[in-house]
Symmetry: C2
């Protein structure tokens, strides 16, 4: 039986995540992987889990296993509110930060609407916008407004330690983007999954703080707690949050309740802050190991970003290198990365790649980068 006639028009835009498809082919425990954007399990509060579960069951009992409110459990919303200075009505818990992206797209995009993106950009966001048949339009140079942008509903940016770029937007760039958004009348989706993971330098004000009236900020527990709990939250103008709330009733009624109480316990007990300090030490060391190894082994003509936080450095090779064509060979030789072209809506950036320093064991950065460099030329 042929099912094509039953599918919605959106389905024609669906594309399996190329990174998830890549990872299916490979047992990453057998190779050097600089590919996945997974947080290190060494940063998970595994030791404290039994104690957290005990506390949740003691405090909340069966309530932690029941349906919860659509906005999120009040205890967690209150902690996020006091931690961020956001009024509770500006906040909505999401079942993962990815759902935050999807629900923003659902609430804001009609087919043919445009989304401005800073390329390269997060694949899961590009895919979500494509799934709603939006046009994905890269900014012009320096976050300028591109010609023929069409009806721009919002810009999507990852201002802190971008995925995959590893770059951070300066205050001047954020201010310029806000001015542009006000002039051209579009919203800004500020995706902040890595913001808490800064390893050097000073935090720069969020875009949400510069333009609260037109910015929705997406946040995640995946990198500060653990991704298996699928918890994120968003902060935005209450009029937009209200529509997200109503939409979310039909999406999944409420985020996972037991997981939310665990997150509230983790956050409220102070364990999150302690764990975050240790995670930052861990990832800073990994970043330095990667950057040092790149400096040691990469030939001239290769450049890379120096991230002040997050998980990624982005490499640019000489123009005639093709990291997608090289990929199968690299896997066979025992090293994985993500081809940079995956992060360009037009498939450009063939001479780029994303390297993640979050997951590889510290002792493996040097041999991994040496092997990678040997394949490039």
């Amino acid at each position: 039986m042929d099912y094509e006639r039953f599918f919605s028009e959106d389905v024609a835009a669906f594309l399996p995540s190329p990174t998830r498809e890549l990872f299916k082919k490979v047992d990453i425990s057998k190779i050097y992987s600089l590919a996945g954007g997974f947080p290190s399990p060494d940063t998970f509060p595994l030791e404290g889990m039994r104690e957290m579960v005990d506390a949740v069951l003691d405090k909340y009992g069966a309530k932690a296993m029941q349906y919860g409110g659509t906005q999120g459990v009040p205890e967690l919303v209150a902690l996020l509110s006091s931690g961020s200075g956001e009024a509770p009505e500006n906040l909505q818990m999401t079942t993962s930060s990815q759902q935050g992206i999807d629900v923003c797209a659902r609430v804001l995009l009609d087919p043919g609407d445009s989304v401005l993106v800073d390329t390269p950009s997060y694949l899961g966001a590009l895919q979500s916008f494509k799934d709603y048949r939006a046009r994905i339009v890269p900014f012009g140079e320096g976050f300028s407004f591109p010609e023929d942008a069409g009806r721009v509903k919002f810009a999507y940016v990852i201002p802190d330690f971008g995925n995959p770029s590893g770059k951070t937007m300066s205050l001047a760039e954020r201010q310029a983007l806000v001015e542009l958004a006000r002039e051209k009348d579009f919203l800004i989706i500020e995706d902040s999954p890595y913001r808490a993971l800064r390893y050097e330098g000073e935090q720069i004000p969020t875009i949400r703080s510069l333009a609260p009236e037109r910015t929705v900020q997406l946040c995640s527990f995946s990198k500060i707690f653990a991704p298996g709990f699928r918890l994120g939250w968003m902060a935005g103008p209450p009029e937009i949050i209200h529509q997200v709330y109503v939409c979310k009733q039909a999406l999944d009624l409420c985020p996972p309740v037991f997981d939310q109480y665990l997150a509230a316990e983790f956050m409220g007990s102070g364990a999150l802050d302690r764990n975050l300090a240790a995670s930052k030490e861990y990832y800073r060391r990994n970043r330095d190991l990667l950057l040092d190894a790149l400096g040691r082994h990469m030939p001239s003509g290769v450049s890379w970003t120096r991230p002040e936080g997050g998980f990624f450095s982005f490499l640019t090779l000489p123009g005639d290198c093709d990291t997608l064509a090289l990929y199968d060979t690299a896997i066979k030789k025992g090293i994985a990365y993500v081809p940079g072209s995956f992060f360009y809506p037009d498939g450009g950036g063939r001479n780029t790649m994303r390297l993640s320093f979050s997951y590889l064991a510290p002792g493996k950065f040097d041999p991994a980068v040496r092997l990678l460099a040997s394949l490039l030329f």
Copy 2:
């Protein structure tokens, strides 16, 4: 600032869940509530939770806190496969059964497409279909094809102990629906959240078993484990499941992983079967208490369904009664129900109401129904 210009066309169809809005007004612990469709916390495996968490942490460690595959964790998919006889490629875990409804709508519906429903029907499904700007078209008498149905993509039914009707479709009705679907060429979404909760009589074959080539069955852990974990699954033709899988990557990457391992432990250890047997005893007693109280207190002219399972009985009052108009008075007097008109896409059924027997404490059914009857005439 006015945000209307930014919203997608779908947003105009969004409507806050009237039941969730109702429940916001009321502290249900202070009144007799026959309204909510919540499972009883007395049926949750609260006592066994610490042991389950220990087992999950011992067996899987940090893996239970990491990102997981989009289909679901393999251990749980394998258990569901062997329990149901479905091939693994026919299965997809969902972040709640509500998400199963939503993602089917996303993959199958374009604005203006029709969905056939057996009225009254589940509010969360009607709302999800409306959110995609589908036409909701009730079946004709006896599951017949209505005139002017338009382009029907699928029929949505809850064949076992329907919400809100409490009714079960006979085998003949299921067969007739399958014949109609084949003749008129539409799919069937078989929503089965209550199927495991049968208190008397024999199970009737699923529609999925009668027409596997055109049926997607939605299942839920909410009533057989606990709703706070937000876990459901679906079984359907692999071509449809594949599109759901691809869509889900952009929706939320994967269902909650820790929760899935808890469910696998609950299921694999045999605790689910033991707990289910106890839950069925619990709910059967509650059902009998409700039905007995209705028989004792309701005046002639009132009729109600006798459910063989699930959570609900549906009452029909004389034609001039208006359960929506009566609602605020009922709350003030200390009794809650759900007005039946919420479950009719055209707002009909004003003389009906849904009573849930899942949540009220056993000793309260008699006074609750006596109070309700006193308000009706």
